[in-house]
Symmetry: C2
Subunit: 202 residues, 2 copies
Amino acid sequence: MKEQDCLALAEKVAGRIFVPLEASGRHVHITREQAQILFGHGLTAKRPLSQPGQFLANERVTVVGPKGEFRNVAVLGPERKEAQVEISITDGRQLGIQPPVRLSGDVTGTPGITLVGDMGRITLNRGVMAAKRHIHLSPEAAKWFSVKDGQVVQLQALTERPCIFQQLVVRVSPDFAPAVHLDYDESNACGFRPGDYGRILP
Amino acid sequence: MKEQDCLALAEKVAGRIFVPLEASGRHVHITREQAQILFGHGLTAKRPLSQPGQFLANERVTVVGPKGEFRNVAVLGPERKEAQVEISITDGRQLGIQPPVRLSGDVTGTPGITLVGDMGRITLNRGVMAAKRHIHLSPEAAKWFSVKDGQVVQLQALTERPCIFQQLVVRVSPDFAPAVHLDYDESNACGFRPGDYGRILP
């Protein structure tokens, strides 16, 4: 067996036992109309993300809060029905906003913020959150781990500063590739390095 | 029983079952000689910390890394035998330094940094670290929880984003008050709020 084949096999076996960890930095989702205002055109793809169909856009924004701002913030495509600004609690401190911990899409009652693009500026009335930790699984992977869409599980992070993350929501869809999504507070807290895995606990 | 007495009793009971969580922001320890250079005098106490004899100093420093700096960083007293700069991994990214995760005092092989006070500037050859999570206990509290100095335990954080922190080192001393020390990455990752407790797992 060639070394390359061995590595590919090892990856495949790991994927049956573990779920890859991913750290999501601060990022923004916007609508088609908002993209027009901010950039004068729709989002264009720079590179694909781990989730099929999702991409990092060439376009970037400045996120402006009451106490501070972040320049050059990633915008993820494709466009969505409503804007959403995902930051860590640490980021919130610098911006002067306390982001509630929410699952993606659950924007009711969340604080607003201002986005600045190279062509325009938008003030959102809501949409700022710290992403609630969650696990993406394909239906096939959900079977391997015997979990269901919406199930809440614990996950052992196999990292330098090990911890067990609790109350992770499992989201199952044919559009998903297996991945645990942590924000930067969580990934730094567990000493995550690219290539690290987690194990769903029974 | 008066309400005040009830609250005091509740606190006492909680202290037998749980350990208070504390979030340590970035801070600096320095020597007597370094205080002289940075401020022209020794450290002066602004307010006491939870650990007996320790204090937050009136004096503050700017911490300067290769890629960024933090102004107005807390200095903790009393002075120590060697300087130590405790930052989070998130802070390290902003400074352009990768802090190794270490227990306090274990500075061998750690990176250096520059400190600026209102009277002078010092470049340290070593001392930058992300503090390894740990638990302070008095000998009495160690008995209640049946753990020993140096023991490695797991801790359930009873917080908004619950998780179990693993590989916490227990440090027992008559000079200690019971407290779990987390850095800001860890405290934000678990959604810590002042007054939250943790439970040492058997």
